[in-house]
Symmetry: D2
Subunit: 336 residues, 4 copies
C-alpha cells in the first residue's frame, strides 16, 4: 500500500527528495520521474536504482495512472502550472517554494483546491517541522511566555553568488521567516517596512546587504528580521519570542563544546542544507502519512498564498522605503 510518487524536476532538490522517498522514509515509492533534461532524470533513476518510468513532461507524469502523488521540484516559474494540473487530476501534490511566482498564481491554486473540495496541496516550507521551532511553538501554545509581543529574528548566510540581488533577500531568504512566523504566532501580517543598514563590503552593487525587515501582525506583534546573506561567519538562524511573561530563543544547532587555544567554543554551521536536514525528512514523511489517512496537515496553499502576498509587500517596501500594507483576505473556512 505504498504511496506511488512522481517527481517533476530532478535537479538538486528533486533528486534529494527522490532519495529521501526511496531510501529514508517509509510508505512511499518513486514510480515516475521527469525533467526538462531527460538525461538528468535517467541519472537519478540509475543512481537510486529506481523502478520508475521516465515521462516526457510533468503533464504526462501527472496523468499516469500509477502515480498517486506528485512532487513539484522543477524550475519555480513552472510550479503553478503543475500544481493546478495535479489538482485538476485530483492528485496529491507537494510543491517546493514558491507555490507560484505571483500572489495571483497562488490564489488561483487556492481557488482550484477549494473548488476541488479537499486539500491536495502541501507547500515545501520545512521550518514548522524543525525540532527547535516546534519547541518554541509549544512554549507559546502552552502559554509559558504569555501573549507574544515581539519577535526578533536573524537569517544569516555566509555568502551568496553574484546572481543574488536585493529582492531575493525577500523572495528566497525572508520567505522562510514569512512562513514560519505566521505559523508560530498563528497570526497574519498587516504591514511591512524595510531598513537598509550600511552595506557590507562583501556584497556587490546589485545587493543591499544586510537588510532589516519590520513586520506588524493583526494582533499587534512586532517582528524584526535581520537578513544578512554575506555575514561570512556561518549559516545562522536566530529567533527570539518576547512575550508578556518571558522570552524564548530557538536552540543553537547541536555541537560539542570545545576548550582549545584560549577559546570555549561551539561549531556553527556554514552550510544551510545541514541546518534543517532533519526537517526535510519530517515534512515529506508527514506528506506521505497525510496521504495515507487522506488528510494533509502541513503548510497549505493558503500558507503559500500568504507568503506570496507578504513577500510582494516587502519587496514594495524595499523600493518605496515606506511602511507598506499587507492586505490578506480573510482565511477561507476551507483552511480551518
Amino acid at each position: 500500500m505504498k504511496v506511488r510518487v512522481g517527481v517533476i524536476g530532478t535537479g538538486a532538490i528533486g533528486a534529494d527528495h527522490a532519495r529521501r522517498l526511496s531510501k529514508v522514509l517509509v510508505g512511499a515509492e518513486v514510480v515516475a520521474l521527469t525533467d526538462v533534461n531527460r538525461e538528468n532524470a535517467e541519472k537519478v533513476k540509475a543512481n537510486l536504482g529506481l523502478n520508475a518510468e521516465i515521462y516526457g513532461d510533468g503533464h504526462e507524469l501527472i496523468a499516469a495512472g500509477d502515480v498517486d502523488a506528485v512532487l513539484v521540484t522543477s524550475w519555480g516559474p513552472t510550479h503553478e502550472e503543475y500544481v493546478l494540473a495535479a489538482i485538476e487530476a485530483g492528485k496529491y501534490v507537494f510543491c517546493e517554494k514558491p507555490l507560484a511566482t505571483t500572489a495571483e498564481g497562488c490564489r488561483k491554486i487556492v481557488d482550484a483546491e477549494i473548488a476541488h473540495g479537499k486539500r491536495l496541496v502541501q507547500v515545501g516550507f520545512m521550518r514548522p517541522y524543525d525540532a527547535g521551532y516546534r519547541l518554541l511553538k509549544q512554549a507559546i501554545d502552552d502559554g509559558e511566555l504569555g501573549e507574544p509581543l515581539m519577535v526578533h529574528c536573524a537569517h544569516r548566510n555566509p555568502e551568496v553568488p553574484e546572481a543574488y540581488i536585493t529582492p531575493m533577500a525577500i523572495q528566497d531568504t525572508l520567505v522562510h521567516e514569512l512562513d514560519v512566523l505566521r505559523w508560530l504566532l498563528d497570526d497574519d501580517y498587516v504591514s511591512a517596512q524595510v531598513i537598509f543598514p550600511r552595506t557590507t563590503k562583501y556584497s556587490h552593487s546589485k545587493l543591499a546587504d544586510p537588510q532589516i525587515v519590520l513586520l506588524e501582525t493583526a494582533k499587534g506583534v512586532r517582528i524584526d528580521v535581520e537578513v544578512f546573506v554575506n555575514c561570512k561567519y556561518g549559516y545562522d538562524i536566530q529567533c527570539s519570542v518576547v512575550g508578556e511573561e518571558g522570552v524564548a530563543n530557538l536552540p543553537e544547532p547541536v555541537s560539542i563544546t570545545t576548550r582549545k587555544e584560549a577559546k570555549l567554543s561551539q561549531t556553527l554551521l556554514t552550510d544551510w542544507k545541514k541546518r534543517f536536514i532533519d526537517a526535510y525528512d519530517v515534512e515529506l514523511q508527514d506528506f506521505i502519512d497525510g496521504i495515507k489517512v487522506r488528510e494533509l496537515t502541513g503548510p497549505t496553499s493558503w500558507d503559500g498564498f500568504a507568503a506570496a502576498v507578504a513577500s510582494d509587500a516587502c519587496v514594495k517596501a524595499q523600493e518605496t522605503g515606506q511602511v507598506e500594507a499587507i492586505n490578506m483576505p480573510p482565511r477561507p473556512p476551507f483552511y480551518g
Copy 2:
C-alpha cells in the same frame, strides 16, 4: 528485497523495535514474532498491523525459512541461548544488552561466531550512534584534542525502583559507558576501582548511590564515571574528554532557552528513553543496512564480551574496595 526479521521477546523494547522496523526504518519487515506470553506477541502484531507469524519459542522462530535476521529482545538470561542458535543457523542477530549474563557466555558467542567465519551478531549498544558522541569521536579522531588523557563522565537518573540494587549501577547503568568509552577512545580497560560517596537520602538500604567508578585503559587514559541514579533533577549524561591540546564536552540535549521568573534556563530531560531516541533508529537501520551488504559494522560480540569482562571487574571492585585488574585477552583479528 526487504530484510525479513523475527523478533524474540515482545516486551517494551521488543515491541518498540518491531514498530521501528515496520514504521520508521526502511528495508526491513517483521515477519515473525514470539514471546513467553503469546498474547503479548499477538497484541504487538495487531497493534502494528503486521503480516507476521507467531512462533511457539525463539528456536522455532530462528529456524523459520523466511526469517533472514533475528532480534533478541527477550529476558536477559535467555539472550545467550538464542544468539548461539542464530549463529548456528547462520542468521544475522541483533541482541539487546546484555549479550549474555556472564563474560563466559559472551565468550562462547564470540567463539561460535569466529567458528562460523563471518560476523553475524550486533549488540544493542546505541550510544555510538548518538549524534553527540559521534561529534566527540570525530574531534578525537581528527586529532583536535590531541591524545586523550582523561575522561570525566556522569550518568544520572532521576530515580530508580526499589528492585535496583548496588551491582545494577554497574550492570544496567555503567555498562553503557563501558561500551561507549572503549569505542570513543579505541582502547581497552586494564583496571577498575569503585568509590562510594555519602549516600543520598533518596536511595534505599540495598543501593549505594551515588558511586564513582575509576577506570584505567591500556593506553593510560584515566576515566571517572559518576553513577547517580537518584539524582532527582533529570536524566543527564555528561562526558568530557581531556586531551593534550584541549577538552571537548558532549552536547546538552536540544532545548529552547527561556528567560522567565529571574532564570535563564534550558529544559533537561527526565526520561531516559528520550535521550537516545534517535540513536535507536540509527543503530537498527545500520543493522539492516549492514545485512544488505553482508557486512555488519556496529557493536560486535567482542564488544559485548569486553563490556561483560569490565562489568564483572567493576562489580568485584564494588565488593572489595580495591583496584581490580580487568584482564581482556587480545582482540582476535576477526574483529579487526
Copy 3:
C-alpha cells in the same frame, strides 16, 4: 592630597555616591553636603561618620573654599544651574543624568565649559565603565568584528511604577543606550523612529510598553532597541553588535549554573542597581583620578548634550510615528 568633594543632593544616589567616595574609592573625601531637606544631609553625614560641613544650598557649597569638586545628585531640574555655577567657580563637577532637562540647557553648559577653556564636567553615564561593554568596545576597536553594521539591543525592567509614562521610556531608560552606543560605535545618530508593539497587560494606560526604537547613525549603522519596562522576568540588558566579519554579544551577568528540577539554569538579575554596581565605582574613581592629573576622560558635557538631542528626537518620534531627524552640530575640537 585627597580630592575634597561636596555633594549636592543627598537622596538615594547622592548618599550612595557619598558612601562610595568615603568608604570604597581612594583619593577622595566628602567635606561638604547639602540637600533641600537639611535633615537628610545630616543623616548621611552621621551614617557615614563624615567630617563634613552642611551647607544651606548648592551655591554656598560650590563657593566653599575647601571644596575641590562637586557632585550634582539633586533633583534633575536643578542640575543645569549647579553645573553652570561649578563651571563659573572653576570647579570639577560630576553630574548625574540628565546633565540638563533640555538640550538647550546642555548646550549652555557645553558653551560655558568651552568658554572656561578646560574640561570640568563629567556626566554620570556609567555603562562605558561596565566590564562587559568594555570587552565589546575592545572587540570593535581591535577590528575583530569588522565594520559594525547593526546593533540589536534590549533594555528590560521587571516593572515600573504608575508614575512612569511613555516618554520616560526614552528619557529615563533608553538614554543609557543613547549614551553607550555612541561611545561603543564612536558615531552620531542621524535619525530615530519608534514602533509600538501590542502593549503588555502589565502596563497601564499612560505607558505604551514595550517600544522599539530604531536609530540610524552617521556611518549608516542601524540600531534597534527594545525598551520593555514591565517584562516581569528580570532586569536584562542585551546588546549584540553585527559587523562585517562577525557578531559579538554583551555577557550575561555572572551566575553559577544550576541543574535542578529538570532545568539547567542561571539566575538573572531583577534589581537594576546590581547590574552596573561595579561600573558606578569605576566611573567615580575615574572622575577622582582625572581630577588628580587635571584631565577628565569620562563622559563629557558634549556627550550629555548629544544624549539630550537624541532623546528629544526619539520623544518626537514617539509622538509623530515618523522617522525624525537627529540634528547634532559638529563636535567642537574642544571635545576631541
Copy 4:
C-alpha cells in the same frame, strides 16, 4: 585612622599588595618595607610614591612602633619565622601561602596565636573571596542543592616552567582547592589518593602531569580534582558540586560571546593572575576592615594548618599510590 602596614618581601606579590593597599583599597597606608634585596624595596617605594621607611629585615620592620599590621610576602621558608614574630609583637599579620612550609610549622603558629588569646593571622587564600565561589557557597548554605555528595574539580594551567615538579602539583596548585573546598563544604578531609593518567607530551621528566587527586571528607563527600598544569589551552578553574537535590557549577569568567569563522565562542583566560584579580582586592580589604573592628574573619592559621596537613597527605599519596589518611586534630574552639 588608617591601618599602617609594613610589607616584608617586595617581590612580585609583595609589590602588588603594596600597590593595592596604597592605590586601590581604603583604610590602609604602607609605612614600612623590607626585602632581602634592599634595592627592590627602594624601587617599590619610589614607583608607588610611598612615604615609607625601609628596614634592614623583617624583624626590625615588625618591631617598628608605627607599624600596625604586617604583610608577609617574602620567600616561603621565611614565613613561619615572621608570622611568629608578628604574633609575639601582638601585631596583625597577613601571610601569603604557605603559612609555613611544614604542617608542624603551621601548628606552632596556631599554638602561638591561641596562646596570644586573639586572632591576629589571616592566610592569603583568596578563592573564598571570589564572587563565583561565593555564589556556590550561598547555594549550598541556602540548601538549594541539598546535602553535598560529590565535588568534581579541575585546576588547569596552560604551562609551567621546568622547575615545577610532581609534588608542586599539590603544594602550589592543589593547595587552593584544599583550602577553598573545606570552606565551601564546611568539612574536613579524612583521606587522599592520587591517580596518574598518561602524561602529556608537553610535560617533562620530573613532572607527572596531569594528576587526579581523590579526597574524602568527614561527612563522606567525595572530591576529585584534576590538576593539569600543561593543558595548553588556558587557565581554567572548574568546580561542580553535586548535591542530593541538584548540581551547581562555578561560573566561567566573564566574556563577550562571539560568532566568527564558524565558531560561537567565548574567550578563556590564559593568565592565572587575571582569574582571581578581584578576589585579591576583596581579601586584603577584608583584612584591613577586620583590623579596624579588631576581628579578623578571613582564612585562619587553622585553615593554613589544615591545608598543610592535607597537602602532606596528598604528597605521600603521590609517592605510595595508596589511599592515605588525613589526620586532622579537632578544631580548637578558638577558631569557632
